[in-house]
Point group: C2
Chain length 452, copies 2
């Protein structure tokens, strides 16, 4: 494994049992104290990725970390290959589900690296596809880091001879034979291919921001102490220096007032009531037929409705859902994030609601809140909402690549029309809940919203 491409190498060494016994109590105490501070502060998530070769002890190390610290705040996860419902969703979906909340330490075994390495090593994934997945992983890790996640990426390395020896030793006794899996045997047989695939993805995904640390997995004592120390150092550094400044905000292309496409819209288009009803029924029938087709079961649909208050998002949604099978769709109204949701990166709550195959999710407001309300109301730093444009594109790209149809609507009305509708709502008793002081407040920021 080369030392280049941002991959930090920790040279492998052995550690005697005596040295280990002497080091561990102090290390545990330091780890527990650091973990205590993390859970008290509750303002960032720690994510430790333990990936590597078969027999290199990454799962033993995962168990050890959970033993050394308070296991209530250690989330040990090993998401498996997609099964059942997950199949239709983007590759990263299950890792979003596995993210632990702020204030806790997540230990992810193999993580998003295992599948591409095994697939490339077995020839099921081309070099080009591996590069594409690497780019996706880079974007995802960058997003996590920007959201304040402390990401520690450890690769457990094992020479071929050491791997053969270890698997042979485990296989020799009836009591430990169960620990050698089919995949372990496969890896040993394809050691070179696996190593090469791993080396490729490691160089593609190692960066100064999210470097890899290589751990020599041949000696148990050395390996465990090395992992414990690395984690402790990383925790202390973050606790002592605070969350790093968000990276420099990406520049936005300045857009002149004239160029705003919303200002170009002709808002006087009308449809006669007489034309409306038959056209609506026809469209609904068409939508009903299409979503009931066998072929739709291989896709899923995400509908996003955004727009100014009182632009008619609610009634548009009712006209859509009228044509849908109630078993098939979910309407997700997006308001300010809940206390729980605030403990995760902002895209997390949208990932949770993604439809499975053959299903439809309609978002009444959406992730665009990041660059609308959060931008206008200064709820997000400029650096945060500016990078959101890129992150949103990347998110939607992943949806599309997984076979999800993404349809987005912006409903625009004029400022005068909004006022008329607000007044009408105030006068209709059963619509009063639709008009709140917030609506009037947002209205005063009309121009800022139009600009955003």
């Amino acid at each position: 494994m080369g030392a280049n491409n941002g991959i930090e190498v920790a040279a492998g060494r052995a550690l005697s049992k005596e040295a280990y016994d002497e080091i561990v109590p102090g290390l545990r105490e330091a780890l527990v104290n650091a973990q205590y501070d993390v859970t008290q502060q509750r303002d960032f998530t720690v994510l430790v990725l333990l990936a590597g070769m078969s027999g290199s002890g990454r799962s033993e190390s995962a168990n050890r970390l959970s033993e050394w610290m308070d296991p209530r705040y250690v989330h040990l996860r090993a998401p498996d290959e997609p099964i059942g419902l997950e199949r239709a969703r983007p590759y990263m979906w299950r890792y979003w589900q596995a993210l632990p909340p702020k204030g806790s330490i997540g230990v992810l075994l193999d993580s998003w690296y295992r599948a591409p390495i095994v697939k490339h090593a077995s020839g099921a994934l081309s070099g080009l596809a591996l590069q594409r997945i690497s780019a996706e992983i880079r974007d995802f890790e960058t997003l996590l880091i920007h959201e304040g996640v402390l990401l520690l990426k450890l690769w457990f390395h094992l020479e071929k001879a050491a791997q053969a020896e270890r698997l042979q030793k485990l296989g020799a006794s009836k009591l430990t034979r169960w620990r050698v899996t089919d995949e372990d045997r496969w890896q040993l047989k394809h050691y070179e291919q696996f190593s090469t695939a791993a080396e490729k993805i490691l160089s593609e995904t190692g960066s100064p921001e999210a470097p890899w640390t290589i751990i020599d997995g041949s000696d148990e004592q050395y390996r465990e102490v090395a992992v414990g120390r690395l984690l402790h150092q990383a925790l202390r550094r973050r606790l002592d220096t605070g969350t790093p400044d968000a990276s420099v905000a990406p520049a936005l292309p300045e857009r002149g007032e004239k160029q705003n496409p919303l200002h170009e819209l002709d808002l006087n288009k009308r449809l006669d009531e007489a034309d409306y009803q038959p056209q609506l029924e026809q469209q609904q029938a068409g939508l009903a037929r299409l979503t009931r087709r066998k072929r739709f079961r291989r896709h899923s649909l995400v509908v996003v409705l955004e727009g100014m208050d009182a632009a008619g998002k609610g009634s548009a949604i009712r006209r859509i859902t009228y044509a849908l099978d109630v078993r098939q769709y979910t309407v997700v109204p997006i308001a300010a994030p809940s206390e729980e949701e605030r403990r995760y990166p902002y895209l997390w709550r949208f990932w949770r609601e993604l439809p499975e195959q053959g299903e439809i999710t309609i978002f009444d407001r959406s992730w665009y809140g990041r660059v609308l309300v959060e931008r206008v109301e200064n709820l997000a730093d400029a650096a945060d909402w500016r990078r959101a444009y890129e992150e949103i594109n990347e998110f939607e790209q992943q949806l599309i690549e997984s076979g999800t149809l993404v349809v987005k609507f912006w409903l625009q009305i004029s400022k005068a029309e909004q006022l008329k509708r607000f007044r009408a709502r105030e006068k209709t008793p059963f619509k009063r809940f639709k008009i709140t002081p917030d609506d009037w407040r947002n209205r005063r920021k009309w121009d800022a919203y139009q600009q955003a």
Copy 2:
């Protein structure tokens, strides 16, 4: 449909368009105001079940309720038949997942009634099995009501002629044909069987506590106003009179001090270190082999660990998980419920964590907290924790019937041994997090915990 067996009948009537237009604005206002009070109080959940015949307008009514009120607090759900991952879990699992939190109104289409009716009508479910499911449903609804859920059960009835006419009318136009499903056609063809099956389950599950209201589904205006009024009345009654008193606490068999099985235990059993290690390895190897068998993939496993503080639950779990594939198990530590969890019935958070087929969930403390810490600390009313014994038995029964293995351990130590371990923990720096003021407080209530 008979009027006996706790089934309340609302005679079917039609309502003219004019009368409807006159009633609706006032009804909407009343509903919106009541809903507002529900969301402000946030201390109970409303659950409206809309079940009934094909073509009786139950899904139209569901949409109407969502239109008439603030849709952000109306959870419209229509859980489908089990697919994929759900198959292994108890029948009620998906309905537990669909429960809305306190302060919101859930509208459940068909709900837990559809599958048994259709299956019994088509001969796939025996009369005895139908009775068993009815009993399960009764227990579940009783639990919901005891947990303060306002449950409204509406059955949309339609005579055979009216059903035939409605489906025929929808089928006649290209624009509405999509609204007639295969199941609709099947129901019409088997009208008598469906009616009989429905009548059976309705009489089995109608009770003074959770009565059925029958709505005549033949007239749209009448039907919608009837549903709106019933919901409004139910909401107002609850809002004005408050949550009903919990039912009388079931009596507990008085258990003399001598009879406590914990006091009969011989706590001096020891295992030599020399015997321990080989026996542990043998047991771990056995566990590893069994959980990796093909046959295990058709089951799932729930392990519960309870016991006094410092009894060794944590180390027992580590010895178990050592033998398991990390992809296969989850350890769920149970502490005081979070703010979100407190908005649901107490069993909800355990239902959420149930393993799927081939998987293992280890609960580090569990639902027994209801009759331990909540009983001892007076966190639950006597009526609540007393009925919990029955509810827990029912819950575990459902697990077992769905093919889940349930294994429960109580780890007992003597009071003196606990003190020794507490002191040792205080002295070991990396174990200090394991000993908190709570532990000492719980220790002072030793006898109460033993009794519970």
